[in-house]
């Protein structure tokens, strides 16, 4: 059973360390739209998906890689939790 808060912490840490900090952004709120300010670019999206699949042992199909599913830390957490329940 995956714990929601722990999932979110891991996602947040990855997004901040892997993407935001290298772009000079030190803080990202859970609701912030990650694509809007170029925090994540087109190649970054696929690195993020690979991270989620590996870390949470879920499978995310290309058709699920959408703005709605990945737009914020909150949205990513929701996606991971819904996948893990299946």
């Amino acid at each position: 059973m995956i714990e929601s808060a722990a999932v979110k912490d891991q996602i947040r840490e990855y997004v901040i360390e892997e993407f935001a900090k290298t772009k000079g952004i030190n803080q990202v709120t859970d609701q912030e739209v990650l694509t809007k300010n170029g925090i994540i670019d087109s190649m970054g999206i696929f690195r993020l998906v690979a991270f989620l699949e590996e870390t949470f042992n879920v499978r995310i199909g290309d058709e699920e890689i959408t703005h709605d599913n990945l737009e914020s830390i909150d949205a990513i957490e929701k996606l991971v939790i819904s996948k893990a329940k299946k």
Binding site: T22, K23, G24, G38, D41, I45, R47, D62, H67
Partner: protein, 529 residues
């Protein structure tokens, strides 16, 4: 015949007043609305003191208002300067100061990004936000447009050689340089495209490139020329291949133009089928080399589409093109950049100053009405790149040295071989490695810096830096990435930074780039930090 860009709009506004001209983020404007709004924008700009030749900056994410603003500036007689909405404040501030922008069209959020020093340079800001911005008196709300005449533009006498826009690209000395482009420069390209691609009023063009990128000149102005519709693809949509493929299908895009890496993302991650691309009749790409492997896949996914490789730096816009010959796809090892466009002369010049013969390597030089006057406020760089055409004995004429090494093969096409200097392309963006080195060196803890390109099949090049620091362990790579983020756009921040005490040198004391490149920890995928 049109001799200034805004005449393309006037013509189509008469012919197709109720047709949709621009669509973005679920909103659209008809030709009549675009004509009226841009007339109003021109009057508003006049009231803000903008007259012939004055520069006006555009600093906000792509939307319908982007095109209204571009045309509004032109109708006021001004010169628009599209600024990368994701660029750091320092870079935007530099450009605003460099070309003397006094009026900026922006939005509330982007204006907040600007430094106090930059705001000081601006006399006024026009906001694209629909709502009043209340407390902030210096920001003119979009709703103000309604107070100006819609049925005519202000009087202005322009000729084709007047400037229309300035596009800033990466500069090797650490600061971006502004490429000045006239109405004639743009129209030479637009007229060639109209003829070659037969753009018609039924066409639906995509606009994938950012507006500060010259690919967008085709998307916007060939749409207006033909009375067609352009669909602006936002930065957010461009990131998600599956959504983007659905967008192409549902909007029925007929002409697509982008960098190859955008098409490769679609091929790799969007589960493309010929069904998805069935509306697309023409696919254009430019900005970087399209690997044959992926071009073959694209040709299969769009079996009926015409495919074109377009080539040219911002200074000339597209100057050569190659129409993909499907029967040669299987055997062709490298994609040609093709032959010169109409009304453009392109030829290779050897190191010893001769016109290169077939099979010989030379620097591609371009002459004709599409070629820039040079760089804003930089006569030195202009003289270096826009040189007298020595091959013309009877009158004075300039030609542009592209810095690209090419050869003409037996098939009569030019082939791109490499660069003379350290400019590289990544995701189609033009990047001067020297600009990144300057950014690194501006950090007080850095002693030496070398920035190298690591070739990558999908994005063209990734950026790696090797940095010598004054005090060992005083800095981490992340500190330098953060420092760079304040000076250069995100796509120019090195993905990998290796720290050392001293960079290897050649016998003449120069940084040994060959050794550094060989030491590349890998040629390994760059996700490893």
């Amino acid at each position: 015949m049109a001799y200034v860009l805004q005449q393309l709009l006037s013509k189509s506004a008469k012919a197709y007043p109720e047709k949709i001209a621009v669509w973005a983020r679920g909103r659209s404007v008809t030709y009549r609305e675009l004509d009226e709004r841009s007339n109003q924008m021109a009057h508003l700009l006049r009231k803000q003191g903008i007259t012939k030749g004055d520069r006006v900056g555009l600093f906000f994410p792509k939307c319908v208002e982007s095109v209204v603003s571009m045309l509004g500036v032109l109708k006021a007689g001004g010169v628009y300067v599209p600024l990368d909405p994701q660029a750091p404040a320092d870079r935007v501030g530099y450009i605003i100061g460099n070309c003397g922008i006094r009026v900026l069209i922006t939005n509330h959020e982007k204006r907040e990004v600007l430094t106090p020093e930059t705001l000081e340079l601006l006399e006024s800001c026009i906001s694209t936000d629909q709502a009043e911005n209340g407390k902030d008196g210096k920001l003119i709300p979009w709703s103000m447009l309604a107070e100006f005449p819609a049925d005519h533009a202000p009087e202005v006498s322009l000729i084709e050689t007047d400037l229309a826009y300035i596009l800033y690209t990466s500069g090797s000395t650490g600061r971006p340089k502004g490429v000045m482009l006239s109405h004639q420069n743009a129209l030479t390209f637009v007229e060639w495209c109209a003829e070659e691609f037969q753009v018609r009023s039924e066409d639906r063009l995509s606009n994938h490139a950012p507006l500060h990128f010259d690919l967008s000149v085709f998307d916007v102005y060939n749409t207006l020329e033909a009375g067609a519709t352009v669909y602006l693809i936002t930065e957010e949509l461009a990131l998600f291949p599956t959504s983007l493929a659905n967008f192409i299908e549902t909007q029925g895009i007929t002409i697509w133009y982008s960098v190859p890496s955008a098409l490769m993302l679609l091929l790799l991650h969007a589960h493309l089928t010929p069904e998805k691309l069935k509306s697309v009749r023409t696919i254009l790409f430019a900005g970087e080399v399209f690997p044959m492997k992926y071009l073959r896949q694209l040709a299969e996914m769009a079996p009926a589409a015409e495919l074109y490789n377009l080539y040219g730096p911002t200074e000339t816009n597209v100057c050569t093109y190659y129409k993909v010959e499907r029967e040669r796809l299987a055997s062709l090892e490298k994609l040609p950049i093709g032959i010169a466009c109409a009304n453009t002369d392109a030829f290779a010049v050897t190191d010893d100053g001769r016109r290169a013969a077939q099979g010989e390597t030379g620097e591609l030089c371009v002459r004709g009405p599409a070629v820039t006057y040079g760089y804003w406020a930089d006569p030195e760089k202009t003289q270096k790149m826009c040189v007298p055409n020595r091959f013309e004995q009877n009158f004075e004429e300039k030609m542009y040295r592209t810095g690209d090494l090419v050869t003409m093969a037996e098939d009569g096409n030019f082939y791109f071989l490499g660069r003379r200097d350290s400019m590289i392309k990544s995701r189609g963006y033009r990047i001067e490695l020297g600009e990144i080195e300057s950014a690194l060196l501006s950090h007080p803890g850095v002693r030496e810096a070398a920035v190298l390109a690591v070739p990558d099949e999908i994005v063209g090049n990734r950026i790696r830096a090797v940095v010598a620091i004054h005090v060992p362990d005083s800095l981490k790579p992340i500190d330098l990435q953060q420092h760079c983020s304040t000076r250069v756009p995100k796509y120019m921040i090195p993905e990998v930074i290796e720290l050392c005490v001293e960079l290897p040198k050649t016998s003449t004391g120069k940084i040994d780039r060959v050794k550094l490149a060989a030491k590349d920890p890998a040629k390994e995928p760059v996700s490893v930090r």
